[in-house]
């Protein structure tokens, strides 16, 4: 288990300089997720326009893995359709469980090393669970929900 697999430069870069971090006034989909085990918290807000993710922003606090994962996720899914975004979320989820992705995930491939650190998989998936939740729940606002990965 090499530590460099986990803390790849790309992950540290997103952690130190997160993209799309902050509030989003125009967003109409927002969810709050937390990981009760380690206390990571994530607020995710997005706005859909003509079936595509037009705006997306996150805030919260957590470890480098959850924060970097959130930052990379917002970059990757911005401009995607709802279906494409959900499909990417599923590929990432499977990758965290050791299934190599069939499609090129770009920067997100840096998360692959997390799968070798089982206790950190939940950290990496926290923003993706929030995304899935936000997309599937339409316009509900500020609902509290714990992240529980489906089995």
């Amino acid at each position: 288990m090499a530590l460099d697999d986990l803390y790849q430069e790309i992950i540290l870069d997103h952690y130190r300089s997160p993209r799309n971090r902050g509030a989003c006034e125009e967003c109409d989909h927002s969810v709050h997720h937390d990981n009760p085990l380690c206390g990571d918290e994530l607020d995710l807000a997005l706005q859909l326009e003509r079936g595509r993710i037009h705006r997306i922003a996150f805030s919260g606090r957590g470890c480098s893995i959850s924060q970097a994962s959130a930052s990379m996720m917002t970059e990757r899914v911005k401009g995607e359709t709802l279906e494409q975004a959900l499909s990417i979320a599923e590929v990432v989820r499977r990758m965290m469980h050791g299934e190599p992705p069939a499609v090129d995930l770009g920067d997100l491939m840096a998360l692959e090393g997390v799968s070798r650190f089982p206790v950190r998989v939940k950290c990496a998936l926290l923003p993706w669970m929030a995304l899935r939740d936000a997309l599937s729940r339409g316009t509900s606002r500020h609902e509290d929900r714990n992240t529980e990965e489906p089995r």
Partner: protein
Amino acid sequence: MIPERAARLVPAGLDPWRVRRDFPELRRPPGEKPLVYLDAAATTPKPSRVIRAMSRFYEQRYANVHRGVYPLAEEATAEYEAVRDKVARFVGARAPSGVVFTKNCTEAINLVAYAWARRRLAPGDEVVVSELEHHSNLVPWQEACRATGATLRHLRLLAPSGRSAVEGEFPLGGELDLDLSQLDRLVGPRTRLVAISGLSNVLGTITPLEPIVAAARGVGALVLVDGAQLVMRAPVDLRRLGADFFAFSGHKILGPTGVGALVARPELLEEMDPFLTGGEMVLDVTLERATWSEVPHKFEAGTPMIAEVVGLGEAIDYLEALGLASIREHDRHLRDHGLSLLRSVPGLVLYGEHTAAERVATFCFNLVDERGELIHPHDVGTLLADEGIAIRVGHHCAKPLMRRLGVPATCRASCSVYNTVEELETLAGALARARAFFSGHGGNSPSTAERPKDASRGN
């Protein structure tokens, strides 16, 4: 051997390098990283004599207790009951009949919550707990109060006035003592029970129990002390302390998992109905009803954890052979060196650093990076793990205290008899490297850099 270092750093009384040899788990197989185990507050490794005592018992003396008339059964019963006497002596209980074996400390507290609180409390009654309790000495009382209509009240920590690491974000590096000036207001004629931890599992501070017990005594309330962290770190004398209930776990004092004890005044146990019912705890049973055995047996339904109790007895023998005064002295030595080592780590916020309370070698802290942002304890823990250092990161089953500290989680390093100052030096070095790493110095993880000092020499 490094005799000159050992001579410099080891106080008279307890030689941790020698003690380490008694713990097989601390000797890692060749090729594995040396283990710097700093998580005693979660659980301790076991000395080989505890492991051997349990094997020997299973191989030679094992039978069910309090039943058979054949020699093995009598021997097993004698060994089991001898540990009851030992536990009573060890914590200064008035009588062995006040010692009830339980699964762990949590079950011991729940025994009181179910067999006493839920049957005695009524609306208008009050239970007092502190703000720094482990969930196991908080949730049972929340639930007992909810079920009975009693009110739960909280002894709070002093308002924070320490230096701020980052204003508004995680402000507490300062005083985290319990505010004993609230006692008069909190503990009154409605108070039926004060349930308090003897030593904070997070901060490592020893609770000033005397004034708390005195306040409860003054109004006729009972006192339960959660002794999970206190036992073995400080000598416990229940007769002097005057607590009515005392709970602890075996696995935190070098004994096996699966055994703990509730120690209570026998007459108090006699007034209580059983918690669990079934075999081994009855005097007589008809098809309609049953009567109970004498204390403590009426609280030990079913076949107990016999071998674990034997293991606990061996752990107590081992602790007494080391000497509780020597253990305390060694802990102070680690505490003093640990505090000064951790203070030297840049960006480290030590919680409870300036408490008035006596403290032990359990250190609770967070790292702040050069931008002034919290480095999440999980990241710190992962980097330390890569260097073979085992600390606990998370909320330590004390979420209300985490909220009070204003952080989602903290790091905690906790020591025991086998730990050395050199290991704390290794910890401090690794923490400094972790901070540099997350502050953006160098793309490589610290593991690829050379460890300046390998303190964990083999055993």
